[in-house]
């Protein structure tokens, strides 16, 4: 089955979270892969615990299907499955740029870090500190020296004012170039931490509002499905 770990467990692997109570995956939603997913959830003795039901059309509309497992060893564990994520392309490009983490239990395919950062730009309070930590952990792992691609990624996504100022200071040319796409970098270049923090908050609010608008019609569909289930 082609799937990529995302959500808080993905954040655990990248260093932004210590613990997660569920498993979130994004899957390829073609018929063969969904058949394999159906077999996998069968082995886990997982049932759907909320709307929508496990159907291709709901996954392709952008919904998340929520399972709870009952097989021995995984009792009570929750599995959330999506096929589309706001701000991200379809599954194939996500698969091409995935990270694979080697573990004692075998490899784990995870959303690439930039994709996980995009996926975390939601309306939820809890996701924003996690984005900051994803970037901090990446910076900590790479050290101050980075190639131009990674430097551009940090300049576009860092959310910790002191780090953003440091990265802009040490890569001023790149920061000036990237400021066309992220104007708040002018505050980082000026070393103005207060203005930068304010601009980061405005940027966050804009993303949260975009996420709310994205989910408005999906929320309405979920409510209709709940009404239909109640009869």
């Amino acid at each position: 089955m082609r799937s990529l770990l995302m959500g808080d467990q993905g954040c655990v692997l990248y260093g932004a979270a210590e613990f997660s109570r569920d498993t979130d995956v994004v899957v390829l939603s073609d018929d063969d892969n969904l058949d394999r997913l159906g077999s996998a959830v069968g082995e886990l003795r997982a049932d759907v615990i909320a709307v929508p039901p496990f159907e291709k059309r709901h996954l392709e509309a952008g919904h998340s299907v929520h399972f709870r497992c009952h097989a021995a060893g995984v009792e009570g564990m929750r599995l959330d499955v999506m096929a589309r994520i706001r701000g991200l392309p379809g599954f194939d490009p996500l698969w091409e740029r995935r990270s694979t983490i080697e573990t004692d239990d075998g490899p784990i395919d995870v959303l690439a870090l930039p994709d996980l950062v995009t996926a975390k730009k939601t309306q939820l309070d809890k996701d924003w500190p996690m984005i900051a930590r994803l970037l901090e952990a990446d910076y900590a792992a790479c050290g101050p020296q980075a190639d131009s691609v990674r430097l551009a990624f940090w300049l576009q996504e860092l959310r910790t004012p002191s780090l953003l100022i440091e990265v802009a200071r040490s890569g001023a040319h790149a920061a000036q170039a990237e400021s066309a796409a992220r104007p708040l970098l002018t505050h980082a270049l000026a070393g103005d931490a207060n203005a930068l923090a304010t601009a980061l908050r405005v940027e966050e609010d804009r993303e949260r509002e975009a996420d709310r608008k994205y989910w408005d019609p999906l929320r309405a569909e979920l409510e209709e499905l709940r009404c239909a289930r109640r009869g």
Partner: protein, 84 residues
């Protein structure tokens, strides 16, 4: 690659605290192992696998939260609270 000014070393303990600095310094496999241990401890303490109720979530439904709580409880409960 573009010539960059010397970037300063970050004191991660100062920036994010000891716990997070240690977490950042781990490899993904080490984090997975450490997280698994936290998981076991959490379950031994009676922690629930239900999501934290979050009314901001597009998936949140009070009706479903009640209906599908696996053990009819929502998670760790405070049975005795000390003074502040």
């Amino acid at each position: 690659m573009e010539a960059r000014e010397e970037a300063r070393e970050i004191d991660w303990r100062l920036l994010v605290g000891d716990e997070w600095a240690e977490w950042y310094a781990m490899t993904p496999a080490e984090r997975l192992e450490a997280s698994s241990k936290l998981w076991q401890t959490y379950l031994q303490l009676g922690g629930s696998l239900d999501p934290e109720p979050d009314s901001q979530s597009p998936f949140y439904s009070e009706e479903e939260r009640r209906a599908f709580a696996p053990h009819g409880r929502s998670g760790l409960r405070v049975v005795r609270r000390g003074g502040v």
